[in-house]
């Protein structure tokens, strides 16, 4: 009676999913993540090695020495690993979590009471988000050209919606701040 496996931390599924693309070293997994899912999943550089160790230990991944001078381990999915990641991909539960220092700072801005600092923060973020949005909008057609796999284009479209919403919010908020400051200068 094999009890059902305990679910993995969701980052480990992201790791396994990368190996669906092709066998590769841990370092390449990290690089592949940076080029694909880094906007909605990320971790420190060296974490892939810990994940690789865990996943090999628990039988989801197997490693093979690569030939050549430097020691390099090529990782690939075991049948168990493939089964686990495909089952995860098919299950409709999905927990999302946003960690936003910016919103925490806005929430407590009454205590810092420094509207100029907040304005700087928002303007800085506005530029970053506008740049990301432009990049995504420019790259989207390239992904959309891949008719056989429309899914990556969908995640990029999610990014576009996200940044448009963020920009709209920033503009709205900067306008409110401006109004507040003007009222203060007039009345104070």
């Amino acid at each position: 009676m094999s009890r059902p496996e305990k679910p993995l931390p969701s980052g480990d599924y992201a790791f396994l999913a990368m190996l669906l693309l092709a066998p590769m070293s841990a370092y390449q997994v990290k690089k592949a993540m940076q080029g694909s899912v880094s906007h909605f999943y990320s971790a420190a550089h060296s974490q892939v090695y810990q994940q690789a160790n865990r996943l090999v230990r628990d039988g989801y991944v197997r490693e093979k020495e690569a030939p050549g001078g430097r020691r390099t381990r090529i990782l690939s999915l075991t049948p168990k690993g493939r089964r686990a990641v495909l089952e995860w991909l098919r299950s409709p539960e999905a927990e999302d979590q946003l960690y936003s220092e910016l919103l925490v700072k806005v929430f407590f801005a009454a205590y810092s009471d420094d509207p100029a600092a907040m304005q700087t923060m928002l303007e800085r973020r506005r530029e970053e988000s506008a740049a990301m949005l432009a990049e995504y909008e420019q790259f989207l057609p390239v992904l959309e050209a891949a008719k056989d796999n429309p899914y990556p284009a969908m995640t990029m479209s999610a990014g576009i919606h996200f940044y448009r919403g963020e920009l709209a919010w920033i503009d709205e908020t900067l306008a409110k701040l401006g109004a507040t400051k003007r009222r203060r200068s007039v009345s104070g």
Copy 2:
């Protein structure tokens, strides 16, 4: 020569910021977070105790036994803690990170190749997000009534923009999936 303090993990600043509102126990800090910043910062229940221990150990927070039967420690900011959190609030850097299992699953959906599962996932999320949006839209006027502190209303408005964007994306994506499935049923 006191060297500058190493920055705290950003969750610790959120913790300290809660103590700007009033002195309270670790448990109350957690409750206060759930009622305010939980949509853009969250952690496991018991983590507040680890944070409290660290912050007391490092001199940012002081604790006092509360009177009464059960042992309870009331936490409050030390001058050092207050200085640290105000400085953090005023600094314009802010790192945000989204962890979205949903988008990871969408990105790799070609491998699971189960459009029905993906449709279920999106429809489920659509309901959750629509419910959150409705709740936020209903509550926003209450926060906006607090003219002396407009900032919490701003974070709620951010949530509204976020969920509107998410819903727009989900609808767009469900439409694309429907089109794909129809094409498949016709041609396959």
